[in-house]
């Protein structure tokens, strides 16, 4: 058990992959890394055009509060139309 103890487990090794100050775009087919500037209230994804409201858990720890609803609806309707046109 002592030898195993000294060894880092998979979960502990994966800890190195954590990132702070960034989050991923909530569009699952995009998932681009977004890095809002300190205090930013919204952020737009350059990859897919989604726009999000930002909440700050801590000054160095942002998270997505939710989409900007107007942009969200517009993109959803465009995506639906594209599918219907197909």
């Amino acid at each position: 058990m002592a030898a195993e103890e000294a060894k880092l487990s998979t979960a502990e090794v994966l800890r190195e992959t954590r990132t702070y100050g960034k989050f991923r775009c909530h569009n699952p087919s995009c998932m681009g890394r977004l890095e809002p500037k300190a205090g930013d209230k919204t952020v737009r994804c350059p990859g897919c055009g989604m726009e999000f409201r930002v909440h700050w858990i801590r000054p160095d720890f942002p998270r997505i509060r939710g989409p900007v609803w107007e942009t969200n609806r517009k993109l959803a309707e465009e995506a639906l139309k594209k599918m219907e046109d197909k």
């Binding site: 954590r18 569009n27 699952p28 897919c48 989604m50």
Partner: protein
């Protein structure tokens, strides 16, 4: 030590109580908690037993590690045949009860029979007493807990209780402990009510010896550091589980208006950040609380800021109350969510089930399948906050035709309502699913279709797949402790690889349920949280038992198979819409209409879904009908079950 905690058999009909040690070979086969409960349920009930009859067994337990130096071992497990589904009933809750039960000398209680009049059990330092609960009958869940403490003259007594919903045999009534720790899903509170059992109280001062105390504490520091440093748990500790609801709504994975939509737009007033503001305004800056031995502190304390219940104290709300009182009924008012959450806590009823079933009734009302005659004049349209809260009262009190009908659960209600009402009921195995929409995520759809207690997110959900982790990270997680070199995918719309990921999670979730650890301390929401490789160290330091990660995996596989055996015995068949591993037709026929561009227009492909189930069965060692093969039962040491060893 933890291993000398006993099992007690209580017959409420005769008043007979016996206790027994738990054989070490059963510990090695099932550890404790949910795994050992599943073994006991299969062994102590007969095929076809009435869930509300005296022969049904009610099992209450802690895990192998409960109340040791291990972190977050607060979970209490309750199991019985479900009056909601007719299949496996099982629930798991946080709080402080299971540790108190362990300090009182017991890890498992097996309760049978029916008391002539309301009673409660008092478990105290190795003794168990049956006491009258006549004065408690009719009280809410918190009133009951305080009344028991008053009667016993001890504020440290912890109780599992039912509220009026359980007394009224609402088939999705909860077992509750504390203000809001809820044993929801599958109606275990209804089983307690059917036995005239109002509560189980525990008070214990019996030490639990730790096998290697210094090492246990040293290792636990490392474990805690791993848990508290994760982003997901830091967010949980700030916003609680509503943060998951917020994120899910953001991308469009939230079941809305009974599955007509997959996103609640303009939901700013019910978002986690707004609820957190209200908690801070009404309960101050330190408004997050935790369960026994947990560092995450995911539970908000709040007072209802306005309305008829203004000033009332409660805790939460969780994701499920946001679903029940916001997205499902199409309401966007924080006070409605906080009030609804308070009502379900006090009545002792499953917020998830009640929110789902009311929103189903709302759709039936808007479609004209039911009308004001059935609703007793109530205008039960989506977005009507008052009607929503009124229906909570009616269901819990079984008041009016619709309230009484819905109190029997969706499947039975659909038979009474008739027409094509069942087509609109979003359920698996008779249980409504989390207020989530899995049409864009086949892996999650497979999880809810095959979960042992019905549509459920806490049995095998590969939630981390939504993080789009790189393949090497997925390989590290899903390739251990059992070698796997098949496909894996973190693409949300993918079907390939998901059966293994669901199978792996099914075993991971079962393992923590056997140990008594909270799922926020494993790979449920955090890829870097402890799993199979970490648990042998915790078990060894605390109990002295040696396990390899592979052996823990095998325990989990075995316990999952016992649950499968129980369900098969009670009528599970693969494609049965009411008792099978099958989804409502809307998953296959109606595409999503809202959310992020990568989510819009998604639905589950029927053929690919079938292939996923086939593959999942293969990993579990089942045949194409979902029945275990003889060699699988032999490999897991289950070929002679039920063996009635205890």
């Amino acid at each position: 030590m933890a291993l000398n905690r006993k099992i007690a058999y209580i017959d409420l009909t005769t008043g007979e109580i016996t206790t027994a040690p738990i054989p070490i070979d059963l510990r090695r086969k099932f550890l404790g908690g949910r795994g050992l409960d599943a073994y006991l349920l299969l062994n102590h009930t007969r095929k076809g037993c009435d869930p509300l009859g005296p022969d049904n067994r009610l099992l209450i337990s802690g895990g192998l590690l409960t109340a040791t130096c291990a972190s977050a071992t607060a979970r209490t497990h309750v199991m019985a045949k479900s009056p909601l589904t007719g299949l496996l009933g099982s629930t798991n809750m946080g709080g402080f009860f299971a540790p108190e039960l362990a300090w009182a000398g017991f890890h498992h209680l097996v309760i049978r029979g029916k008391a002539k009049e309301p009673v409660y059990l008092f478990v105290n330092d190795g003794k168990i007493e049956i006491r009258s609960a006549k004065k408690l009958w009719g009280k809410t869940t918190t009133e009951t807990q305080w009344a028991i403490r008053d009667e016993l003259g001890d504020d440290e007594v912890k109780s599992l209780v039912i509220g009026p919903a359980g007394e009224n045999l609402v088939r999705f009534a909860n077992v509750m402990t504390g203000i809001k720790n809820s044993g929801g899903r599958t109606g275990m509170g209804c089983v307690m009510g059917s036995k005239n059992l109002k509560a189980v109280a525990a008070r214990g001062t019996m030490d639990i010896a730790i096998a290697h105390p210094v090492e246990a504490l040293e290792y636990n520091k490392r474990f805690i550091e791993q848990i508290t440093s994760s982003k997901v748990n830091q967010t949980q500790g700030t916003l609680g589980t509503p943060f998951i609801w917020g994120a899910t709504n953001s991308w469009g994975g939230l079941r809305t208006r009974n599955f007509q939509y997959n996103q609640l737009e303009y939901a700013d007033d019910v978002e986690p950040e707004r609820l957190d503001e209200i908690a801070e305004e009404t309960c101050g800056p330190h408004h997050m609380a935790g369960c026994f031995g947990c560092q995450v502190h995911c539970r908000a304390k709040y007072r209802i800021p306005s309305g008829p219940y203004a000033g009332r104290y409660d805790e939460g709300p969780e994701y499920t109350s946001q679903g029940a009182f916001a997205s499902e009924p199409g309401c966007t008012n924080a006070v409605t969510v906080l009030t609804g959450n308070h009502l379900v806590d006090q009545y002792g009823v499953d917020n998830l089930e009640i929110g789902s079933i009311i929103s189903w009734a709302m759709e039936l009302y808007e479609l004209g399948i039911i009308d004001k005659k059935q609703t007793d004049g109530l205008d039960l349209r989506f977005g009507n906050d008052e009607a929503l809260l009124e229906m909570v009262h009616r269901i819990c009190q079984r008041k009016g035709w619709l309230g009484d009908t819905l109190a029997d659960g969706g499947v039975q209600a659909s038979e009474k309502i008739g027409k094509n009402s069942f087509d609109f009921l979003i359920q698996v195995k008779g249980m409504s699913n989390l207020h989530s929409d899995e049409r864009a995520t086949p892996g999650l759809a497979l999880n809810i279709a095959t979960a042992s207690r019905g549509s459920d997110h806490l049995r095998s959900r590969p939630a981390i797949d939504l993080y789009h982790l790189p393949e090497p990270v997925l390989r590290k997680i899903y390739g251990s402790p059992v070698a796997y070199d098949g496909p894996l995918s973190s693409e949300h719309t993918e079907y390939i690889g998901k059966p293994w990921q669901v199978f792996w999670q099914e075993n991971c979730y079962m393992a923590v349920d056997c140990l008594g650890i909270c799922k926020y301390h494993t790979v449920f929401l955090g890829a870097t949280h402890p799993n199979f490789e970490d648990w042998p160290k915790v078990i060894f330091h605390n109990t002295g038992l040696e396990f390899t990660p592979q052996q823990i995996w095998e325990v989990a596989e075995r316990a999952n198979m016992v649950e499968r055996l129980f369900n098969l015995r009670e009528g599970l068949s693969r494609t049965d819409l009411k008792k099978g591993d099958m989804l409502n037709h809307r998953y296959f026929d109606e595409p999503t209409r809202r959310g992020a561009p990568g989510v819009v227009g998604r639905f589950i492909d029927r053929e690919k879904f079938k292939k996923m189930v086939d593959e999942f069965y293969k990993f579990k060692g089942l045949d194409s009908e979902g029945v275990p093969k003889a060699e699988t039962l032999k490999r897991l040491g289950l070929e002679n079950e039920p063996t009635k060893q205890i």
